[in-house]
Symmetry: C2
Subunit: 481 residues, 2 copies
Amino acid sequence: MRAITKAINSLKNYSPILAEEPAGPQVLTDIPGPRSKVLLSTLNNFSQDPRTIKLFIDFKRSKGNYAVDADGNVLLETYSQVASLPIGYNHPALLRAARSPEYRKYLSQRQTTEMPDKNWPTMIQEILIPIAPKGLTEVIPSCGCGAGANEYAYKLAFAHAMKKNRNGASPSIQELEDALHNKGNDLAILSFKSSFHGRTFGALTTTQSKPIHKLGLPTFDWPSIQFPDIKHPYAENETHNKAEENRALAELEMAFKTSSKQIAGVVVEPILGEGGDKYASPEFYIRLQDIVHQNGALVIADEVQTGVGATGKFWGHEHWGSHADPDIVTFAKRMQISGIFYKPHLRADRAYSIYNSWHGDPIRLLNLKTVVEVMEDEDLLALSRSTGSVLKNGLMELQRRFPISNIRGLGSFMAFDLDDGKTAEALVDEMIKAGVNCGTCGCRSIRLRPCLTFEAKHAEIYLERVEYALRKMFSDNPKAW
Amino acid sequence: MRAITKAINSLKNYSPILAEEPAGPQVLTDIPGPRSKVLLSTLNNFSQDPRTIKLFIDFKRSKGNYAVDADGNVLLETYSQVASLPIGYNHPALLRAARSPEYRKYLSQRQTTEMPDKNWPTMIQEILIPIAPKGLTEVIPSCGCGAGANEYAYKLAFAHAMKKNRNGASPSIQELEDALHNKGNDLAILSFKSSFHGRTFGALTTTQSKPIHKLGLPTFDWPSIQFPDIKHPYAENETHNKAEENRALAELEMAFKTSSKQIAGVVVEPILGEGGDKYASPEFYIRLQDIVHQNGALVIADEVQTGVGATGKFWGHEHWGSHADPDIVTFAKRMQISGIFYKPHLRADRAYSIYNSWHGDPIRLLNLKTVVEVMEDEDLLALSRSTGSVLKNGLMELQRRFPISNIRGLGSFMAFDLDDGKTAEALVDEMIKAGVNCGTCGCRSIRLRPCLTFEAKHAEIYLERVEYALRKMFSDNPKAW
């Protein structure tokens, strides 16, 4: 035990931030290395399953697109804190902003909804409203995480349905009594199988990507349908793909007709991320939107993973085209804070009915301000699109020689498939050994979630290492990079 | 619109922090004053029901136990960001800490569970473990808010029940299938009517303090029973009180026998805060604990509001005495981060089954470290107890002359009742006009949630203002303070 404490204490001598982004990955030890193993064993004494730790990051030394781990290994990031790191580690603009007096003001206290700082309205107006999706000019920046954001959206959809059901009348005494005693509500949110919307109980009901997320946990009896099973490239498999989309839309229409519950909203990701980077065509989403609206329900676009530029547009649903008209858009991850944008007419008509004690974190909102400024100054949406092309072309080239398939993506938000989950996990392991931090999704996909600052030069290193790892796995003659 | 923007912009000239805590409240304008009204109207353009805003706080100028609002009014805090402000505004120790390089490191990035900073294990070990409730030596500091913390606890209780039901065997294929498709789970958490445990859908099911929190929202069909209806002082109403406690415990035993669902856990606040500061005797809680354990379920103590010293002990459940043995303790608010402490044998046996992408916020954990240091250095638990006595004696004195009743409290966590809700709201209004920020709870109670730094001198000012407000409301001859 003393040895462990000593080893931990030695870690306290922080190294400075790397002056510049490294030229490439550098793997010095096994991963996890000896220091990381001590940390895993320490954490295991009092918290958290060590199997859920991928890396211990040295937040102080990491720089740009490169994570430095506790053992000094330098890894190219294509996972980026599960898609939550918009402009890389220790971006100079964020470091500069953090020295401003504004930050200090908010460091020593948290604000609640009832008693926000006097600058809060201006901050929302100047930081959040300019990036609001078209027509969604109200925002609630209140929720702790993506799950909380989605549950806010579900609540707003339920409040909207109840208001319509009551024709604007006030709730009866009986309704109030029933609410208090958990009785008599038959509203539901419809979701797609393979979706991930978070892990709180309402969000979890709509999450259907893996059994482990909800094993043994009560969930609501809400309807769900199969997302279209699209083959890539889309155009080359158009007959199959259109048939799949028609099948899903017919199921959606049928659900509205036959569900024993009133469907107040349909939640959908513009790309089903955790569920395996599943795509559908813009036309599918527009037709889905029409069906939902015809049935008096709301479209909730879960942009927790697709938001803030990764797809080459600020919001993923912008890819649906000019008719895109979601009623609520939820956000978290790269946004630094979580919450919802929504149409003004949906605002709940009763104070405290859709509500949370916490109302955003001013520090994280200030970070978002800097992120958005950097995105504009450095034209990062365009960069995401051009890097995406480099990645896609490179993966297509590899597909000719190795058993990878279904290469797909928008911007640098990309994925490809291996033959099965075990092979996908093995590739992730090989990639980490080769100095690239990456992750899986779905049952057999590798997902790329690089920072928006990921350039062609990073993409080339990535492709080189993928090739190396694939050779190692699938040929007797692994070429070094 | 231009006028509004101009007015807002003028607010950007921050005033410095008050050098010392003011000698007393100072009310310069109506509340809300002219600047606050502009802010309310601005916020109303794009966010949040303005009826849920009590005050716009000037975070920069506020100091210690005094909030300064956007109009420069100085208010004595007895509400403290809904019990979330442990050592007052801008405590010098927090301001000092915020200047350290450690803070800067965590300002520009957020950490996920899979990739925490390398110092995270040490931080948990050094900051959280020393304040762990007895025997609860595991901690998950992962949740965004108190509701999230409670849902974590519920999940842990469900996982524990399922493990027992399976006798340690692995889940069957059918079980995994059912989990994914929201089928076949009959587990429940039992809660008390009048409780408040948060607003996400699982937490909300157990929240039963006011209909407005859950009007129109789906909830689970989980059992709940009436909390004892205690009269204060406890000893003077012992026959009634003991009968009430026996009645509630008999209901609890009956629920275990007759519930159509398997009760995996019972969640209870050591004092029912939002529900009206409802107390029961330590004996009640110990007998409750015994019944729950005899039935193989877990005791979840929701310490979101009672934790971190307000009751004169660090944890509210310590008042249950040396036999106190909750299985899970949930925290948020004054802790600055939210999460759960729990018994080590409850750790889920499957990675990623009880999990959250975010794993605490290092900055808020560093703030907690300072809070705990200040609590020790300044012996704030003792201060909470002695200030509590001053408050209790003063309110007892006022009870002889005014229609207030049921004065109750532990430490400075106190409450008293008015005849009805309207009168309680009126008293809050009068108090705010008289320079004291305070709030209601339950249907007719005033709750005191001062900072732990609230001293006798603050208590005296508070009592003086309560007397003034009560005179104004109940006598023709209001004496000025």
